[in-house]
């Protein structure tokens, strides 16, 4: 047995390994047990170690991406806005009951045309993070976003969204104010927009709170961003009944840009400077600016009706199933 390899296996796998090792141990002690069978069992056991250590290795790699995607060092929504759009003017409030500082919205100019920009902003230091509620949206935020997107639709401005959120805020008030309907309403509105919609996942793409802003004609992910139906931690708590499974969950969920491109859930991966966006924020922002400009060019050739139809078709065609 290769003990070194076992060391590299995730805790949760270890439990399984130990229990099967105990079985082998029992087998050894059995009278009718033949050496050949024992060898088979041991080889199977070793294969298992091999498999588990590979899974663990991969999980660790994915987990690094998770941490990187969440890193406060990466450029954030406000950085992209500042670096990409001229005349950016922030617009506040849902005109209903409040303003959500975790979601930034406004108008700006790129390539000589006006666009609406909406995005999650997490904030960098503790104060900022608290102020922005760590990028976790509340209904007022999604409704503000809807208001600005409607404004954009009315005036024919393309919509650019930046996604970077652990997920919608799980608070009592948020629930009482209709978090569910705010998210579904945002998704629905984005399908109704007659203008090009470009969504860029710049960091963490957490669940429904991310999707609420990510119904784009083109959805792009930065190389080291992640996008997931549930946080690996929560997934682990539910499925592995244990928080230590978070890295395995991160791998199992397929949340990297590469995975999502392969699955057809996004259109494009935007490559980052070597070592990640945080190594050269200026260049990263330029790359994203170029992407947005190019995407605007690509989408500019479609009529409003076509855009809506293609957007609906794209999302309605996602899914894997079989018959019989």
């Amino acid at each position: 047995m290769d003990l070194k390899k076992i060391e590299k296996v995730s805790k949760i796998y270890l439990k399984e390994l130990i229990s099967s090792f105990a079985k082998i141990d029992k087998l050894k002690k059995l009278r009718f047990f033949s050496g050949i069978h024992f060898k088979d069992a041991l080889s199977q056991f070793n294969k298992r170690i091999e498999k588990y250590s590979r899974a663990t290795r991969e999980s660790n790699k994915v987990w690094n991406k998770v941490e990187l995607s969440r890193s406060g060092e990466r450029p954030q929504c406000r950085d992209y806005i500042k670096g990409i759009f001229e005349d950016f003017t922030e617009l506040s409030g849902d005109r209903l009951t409040g303003d959500d500082s975790s979601i930034v919205a406004g108008l700006g100019r790129i390539g000589g045309r006006t666009v609406a920009v909406v995005g999650h902003n997490k904030g960098r230091n503790t104060n900022e993070r608290i102020k922005h509620n760590f990028g976790m949206g509340i209904p007022q935020g999604y409704r503000k976003s809807c208001r600005i997107m409607k404004l954009a639709d009315k005036f024919g401005f393309p919509v650019i969204t930046f996604i970077d959120t652990p997920g919608a805020y799980a608070g009592l008030e948020a629930e009482d104010n209709g978090q569910s309907a705010a998210i579904s309403g945002s998704i629905r509105l984005m399908f109704e927009l007659n203008v090009p919609v470009i969504s860029v996942l710049i960091g963490e793409g957490g669940s429904g709170g991310a999707l609420a802003l990510a119904v784009g004609d083109e959805v792009a992910m930065l190389e080291n961003s992640t996008y997931s139906v549930i946080s690996p931690e929560a997934c682990s708590a539910i499925l592995w009944k244990d928080s230590t499974g978070k890295k395995l969950a991160a791998r199992a969920l397929r949340i990297t840009s590469k995975d999502l491109l392969k699955l057809g859930a996004i259109e494009r991966v935007i490559h980052e400077p070597i070592g990640g966006a945080q190594k050269d924020p200026g260049r990263m922002i330029k790359i994203v600016k170029k992407y947005i400009n190019d995407a605007l060019g690509r989408l500019g050739k479609y009529q409003p009706e076509q855009l809506r139809l293609k957007r609906a078709e794209k999302f309605e065609n996602i899914g894997f199933f079989t018959y019989g």
């Binding site: 569910s180 579904s184 139906v229 929560a234 592995w240 199992a252 894997f320």
Partner: protein, 261 residues
């Protein structure tokens, strides 16, 4: 099933005779608690007898991510199928309600917590298309813990997919009624179930995005006892009405009559 068998109400703890419980549509005669019922039973008590024609009955989930937690997804699916006798967490089809033709979908919490994966999404899409094609109202009974983790990002995308599909129904001015049953949370509460013309909830149904446990954790303090319940949602403006199981069919028929002008 032994009809004289006793059943303990989950809410008030009183013993109910099985026969009484079934006659009462699995609603406690003492406290009015609405118990879980499966989707076949729901259809039986909601649509006109013999009128239901199932669609996509042979559509099956596939483990395209080779997802494995403590169990393999494929194994979980197998177990759910065996346990429920259903092929997936939703059953869809055409039916009549007091003579009105409808496209109806009923989710079943018993099948992997009513979680929405590719099959639930696709079945809803096909149901919507049927609603549009035949110009018949769309009714969906929701009951779900949310998106199906085992299908990763693809299950998240079903939120967008289903919203787009029911959105197309609504854009045709075909009535869409969403019925919230216990529980409806997460990816289902934040997608097709909350953008209907009319949203009805069953009494006592849990209806929220984040569940009470998660919210308690986030808030680091106690939350009200009625957190996320249908009644609280009514006060919070999220549902049009709360309708008891015994009035559901009549109410749906009346709403269709009204919405059809």
């Amino acid at each position: 099933m032994d009809k004289s068998q006793k059943h303990k109400c989950e809410a008030c703890g009183k013993d109910i005779e099985q026969e009484v419980l079934i006659k009462n549509l699995n609603v406690c005669p003492y406290c009015g608690h609405h118990e879980y019922i499966g989707c076949r039973r729901r259809l039986d008590i909601t649509v006109d007898e013999g009128s239901f024609k199932e669609m996509d009955s042979d559509m099956r989930s596939v483990d395209f991510l080779k997802f494995r937690d403590l169990k393999k997804y494929s194994q979980r699916l197998e177990e759910a199928r065996e346990k429920t006798g259903l092929s997936e967490a939703i059953i869809t089809g055409e039916a009549g309600i007091e003579g009105y033709g409808v496209a109806i979908g009923v989710m079943d919490f018993g099948f992997m917590g009513g979680s929405m994966g590719s099959v639930v999404g696709e079945k809803i899409k096909n149901l919507c298309n049927r609603s549009i094609k035949n110009d018949i109202p769309l009714i969906i009974f929701s009951s779900s813990g949310g998106a199906r983790m085992q299908e990763g990002i693809i299950s998240l995308m079903q939120m967008a997919k289903t919203v787009s599909s029911v959105g197309r129904v609504m854009a045709c001015n075909i009535p869409y009624i969403s019925v919230i049953t216990n529980p409806t949370t997460g990816g289902v509460s934040a997608s097709f179930s909350t953008i209907a013309d009319i949203i009805i909830a069953e009494p006592g149904a849990l209806f929220c995005f984040a569940g009470p446990r998660v919210v308690r954790q986030t808030m680091k303090k106690d939350i009200p006892d009625d957190f996320g319940l249908a009644e609280r949602n009514l006060a919070n403006g999220q549902v049009d009405m709360i309708v008891s199981r015994s009035d559901m069919k009549e109410t749906l028929a009346r709403l269709i009559r009204l919405l059809r002008g």
